[in-house]
């Protein structure tokens, strides 16, 4: 779920997380569909951004994440258990870009 800056909110988007005030009270429930009125209410609360339903893409390119993965595992290449973990992480990273 992407975190969207308030100025980019549009009616029809749905909150992926409840909106809480500073003492933890729920102001808008999870799943609330945004309207113009609700968006201006959010603006007035001084919130910078909110979570919206939908897939979010990593900010960094895939190649960068994969080469960082290789680098992190360089000392444990020969360990079969670590190979299983590395494979799972690699597939996980690849799936984020599909």
């Amino acid at each position: 779920m992407p975190r969207i800056p308030v100025e980019q909110l549009k009616p029809g988007m749905k909150l992926a997380r409840p909106l809480l005030n500073s003492s933890g009270m729920v102001l808008m429930a999870e799943g609330t569909e945004l309207t113009e009125a609700r968006i201006s209410k959010i603006e007035n609360m001084g919130v910078d951004s909110v979570y919206i339903d939908g897939p979010s893409r990593p900010a960094r390119p895939k190649e960068e994440l994969l080469s960082a993965l290789e680098e992190r595992f360089r000392k444990v290449e020969s360990n079969p258990q670590m190979t299983v973990i590395k494979k799972a992480v690699r597939e996980h990273i690849e799936a984020m870009y599909e």
Binding site: M1, R17, P18, R72, K75, V76, Q81, I85, H92, M96
Partner: protein
């Protein structure tokens, strides 16, 4: 100051409330939870008097991690739902979160990651109290914060040494301080009367095979730590992934589908939680 006497180290750590660099909230908290017979009411009362702490506790229990998002509006309610042990752990974590971030950039994200992964794994293994394992994950590296607070320059050098030589941070700590962050946090957890299982998870998260009361829980936190490092979430002083303990990994017997699920939950909840606590 290599080869510090382990007893000296332990005494300093156990008396953190007298160390000038320790933030006041941590001192108060330490005084409160050192009482072995503290009641739920006393804890609630203590938390409620501090608006910042109240906010953080409510943020934490209302975050998606705890499974009652947006539903808990009072500290009393939070304390009743989560129980004394979880709340004590939570209080310690929320009060060190800020310091954590200053102590080591990325340690907070790493700790949240390990907490989430520990909890998901605990659920998979059918443990009755996944929340307690969550707290163990959240606190497993709190010893790093304590070491930084007590010996800021020496700890900074230790991190740089580990980085330069490619050894694990806990090995670098041992050669400089005679003990590791895991032992340091374990002493504190004991002194604060955390449940013994929780103390074991924290103290033995690098060597799960020596846990006798909570071997499974310790194995979970250990594996979670390795998985979070493998995914590269946050920073814990180790830039390389350490080897998983073979015995612990075998005990857990995680399949490919399990790993996929843990990684997915990690991805979803870490970013959110980290953002919530950025304030």
């Amino acid at each position: 100051m290599s080869n510090m006497d382990p007893r000296t180290l332990r005494i300093r750590v156990e008396n953190i409330s007298t160390i000038p660099t320790i933030p006041s909230v941590l001192k108060q908290l330490s005084a409160i939870i050192e009482h072995p017979k503290i009641s739920l009411n006393e804890i609630s009362h203590f938390v409620s008097q501090d608006p910042a702490l109240t906010t953080k506790v409510l943020q934490m229990v209302n975050s998606a991690l705890y499974g009652f998002p947006g539903r808990i509006s009072s500290v009393n309610h939070a304390v009743m739902l989560l129980g004394l042990n979880v709340v004590k752990g939570l209080l310690l974590s929320v009060s060190v979160f800020e310091i954590m971030h200053k102590a080591m950039i990325g340690l907070r994200e790493h700790s949240i990651g390990v907490a989430v992964a520990s909890k998901v794994l605990a659920r998979k293994k059918g443990l009755k109290e996944p929340e307690e394992v969550f707290v163990a994950g959240l606190l497993h590296d709190v010893g790093k914060v304590i070491l930084t607070l007590v010996w800021p320059e020496e700890y900074d050098r230790t991190v740089k040494e580990a980085e330069a030589s490619g050894i694990a941070i806990f090995e670098a700590e041992r050669s400089r301080f005679s003990e590791t962050h895991a032992a340091v946090a374990g002493w504190l957890a004991e002194k604060w009367h955390f449940p013994r299982k929780l103390c074991e998870c924290i103290a033995n998260h690098h060597r799960p095979q020596i846990s006798s009361l909570a071997p499974l829980e310790t194995a979970l936190v250990h594996a979670a730590d390795v998985l979070v490092k493998a995914r590269g979430i946050g920073y814990s002083g180790d830039s390389l992934v350490p080897e998983v303990n073979p015995g612990a990994w075998e005990t857990l017997a995680l399949g490919e589908a399990d790993l996929r699920e843990v990684l997915k939950e990690l991805e979803d909840s870490v970013e959110q939680t980290a953002e919530e606590f950025r304030a």
